[in-house]
């Protein structure tokens, strides 16, 4: 009986650990989607002229982007390697094979967000500077993201 309980307990722990890892995968996908909305749905949409410039929305978008930059380093733990991901994209194994390169990309993104945030005051400065963020998204996705 004791053994059965012990086995059940260990199993439950194991399942719990796996689902916790799966939650990290979900978290990072949610964070990426939110980042996309902040950049594409707000900042780029204004730069393109699809939406009027709105300082409050710009500030909110930068809050999201800053949050992404802060969270990213913890969103790709080794324990999530090989776990099932979304239907669109998956993390390339390179993110874990070349940890230093991956971390450098995250640092570049973080820098681009804080520098751009400091520069954007109005529509013209948004237009002139917002490209720096998307450039970092693209350069990381080029190597470390796969299509499912």
């Amino acid at each position: 009986m004791k053994y059965a309980l012990l086995v059940a307990g260990v199993l439950a722990l194991g399942i719990g650990a796996v689902s916790a890892q799966q939650d990290i995968v979900k978290d990072r996908q949610a964070q990426m989607k939110a980042t996309g909305r902040a950049l594409g749905g707000t900042l780029s949409a204004m730069a393109k002229g699809d939406k009027p410039y709105d300082q409050a929305a710009v500030d909110a978008a930068f809050v999201t982007l800053t949050e992404t930059a802060t969270k990213l380093p913890a969103l790709f733990p080794e324990s999530t390697k090989g776990l099932k991901e979304g239907t669109e994209y998956a993390t390339s194994p390179k993110a874990w094979e070349d940890k230093a390169g991956f971390a450098a990309h995250i640092a570049d993104f973080s820098k681009a967000v804080s520098e751009t945030k400091a520069k954007v005051k109005d529509l013209d400065s948004l237009k002139a500077n917002v490209g720096a963020i998307g450039k970092q998204c693209g350069s990381c996705h080029e190597t470390y993201r796969l299509k499912s």
């Binding site: 996309g36 902040a38 594409g40 749905g41 699809d50 490209g131 998204c137 350069s139 796969l146």
Partner: protein
């Protein structure tokens, strides 16, 4: 009886061989057919960027996209191709080529040695390039730094390794026609059509291919399985891009950002590095043309396993 059969067999065999030989003669552009031309290096640079040359020919794993030493591996169902050195190095690159050699390579897919290139080199698109653009680009490449690294041999299995056989492929899929403007369309649309089809060679990846690697013409631009293996290439006819405005397409070509806020990754990121260097007007022209492509269903995307 047997003798007669053998004679007949030999006759057909020799005739067949003759037809094969004649059919697969590599075509060239003679230097004498090229009119007088003063090269415009600035236009050559534009053609180079629009043509995406550096994406394959730049030496991988270093930052200088203008070091055209080659070596990037392109995997395909037929084997692995390695992009050759096209830097102006006289030995490893194209430093000793004539202008006619260069135009021949782009428009006919034939090397200065008179051999067929494999269609991993997208001459099915580049054949539509004007000779003037090709010559300007040649002059531009000549201004770049030579790289001494020799080209790596392709790793392709039989019978695809026999270059002469590429002649049969060309007979089927290379029509030899230059770009023909559509007089019913605006100059902007025609500029876009030229950039997308002759230089940008978008259809080379964004179209499904038949089992011997020819583009399925009816589904041109309708996407399909990634020719390099993993993933799916999106449909860029109005079936796939109906929610994108012309402005969205142009902005994407400039920044790599989709209207949903997603970012181009994988090999498209390299394409964006090229299109981001074009002028606003050229990106807008490409957008006008792409927006005009009628909606076409691509091959069905397989359900993801697991």
């Amino acid at each position: 009886m047997l003798k007669r059969f053998l004679i007949l067999f030999a006759f057909f065999f020799v005739t067949g061989l003759g037809v094969y030989w004649w059919l697969t003669i590599p075509a060239t552009v003679a230097a004498s057919t090229l009119p007088a031309h003063t090269a415009d290096v600035a236009n050559g640079k534009l053609v180079f960027n629009a043509g995406g040359c550096a994406s394959c020919h730049a030496t991988p794993k270093q930052d200088d996209k203008l070091a055209l030493g080659g070596g990037l591996a392109l995997t395909s169902p037929f084997g692995t191709f390695y992009a050759p050195n096209i830097s102006p190095d006289p030995n490893a690159g194209i430093g000793r080529w004539s202008e006619a050699d260069f135009v021949t390579a782009l428009q006919k897919g034939t090397s200065p040695k008179g051999e067929h290139y494999f269609p991993a080199f997208p001459y099915t698109s580049y054949q539509r390039m004007t000779s003037a653009d090709a010559r300007d680009m040649f002059a531009y490449i000549k201004t770049l730094t030579p790289v001494a690294a020799p080209s790596r041999a392709h790793d392709v299995g039989f019978p695809f390794d026999l270059r002469r056989n590429v002649g049969v492929w060309k007979f089927l899929f290379l029509d030899g026609k230059p770009f023909a403007p559509d007089s019913g369309q605006s100059p902007q649309w025609n500029r876009g059509a030229y950039l997308v089809n002759a230089l940008g060679h978008c259809a080379e990846c964004h179209s499904p291919r038949n089992p011997i690697g020819g583009i399925e013409d009816k589904q041109r631009f309708a996407g399909g399985p990634n020719p390099e293996g993993q993933g799916w290439v999106p449909n860029i006819t109005q079936k796939g891009l109906k929610d994108w405005s012309e402005k969205d397409i142009a902005y994407f070509l400039q920044t790599g950002q989709t209207p949903e806020g997603d970012t181009a990754g994988g090999t498209m990121a390299a394409v964006i590095r090229n299109t981001s260097q074009l002028s606003e007007a050229d990106r807008a022209a490409m957008a006008v043309y792409l927006k005009s492509l009628p909606a076409v269903d691509g091959p069905p995307k397989p359900m993801r396993k697991g």
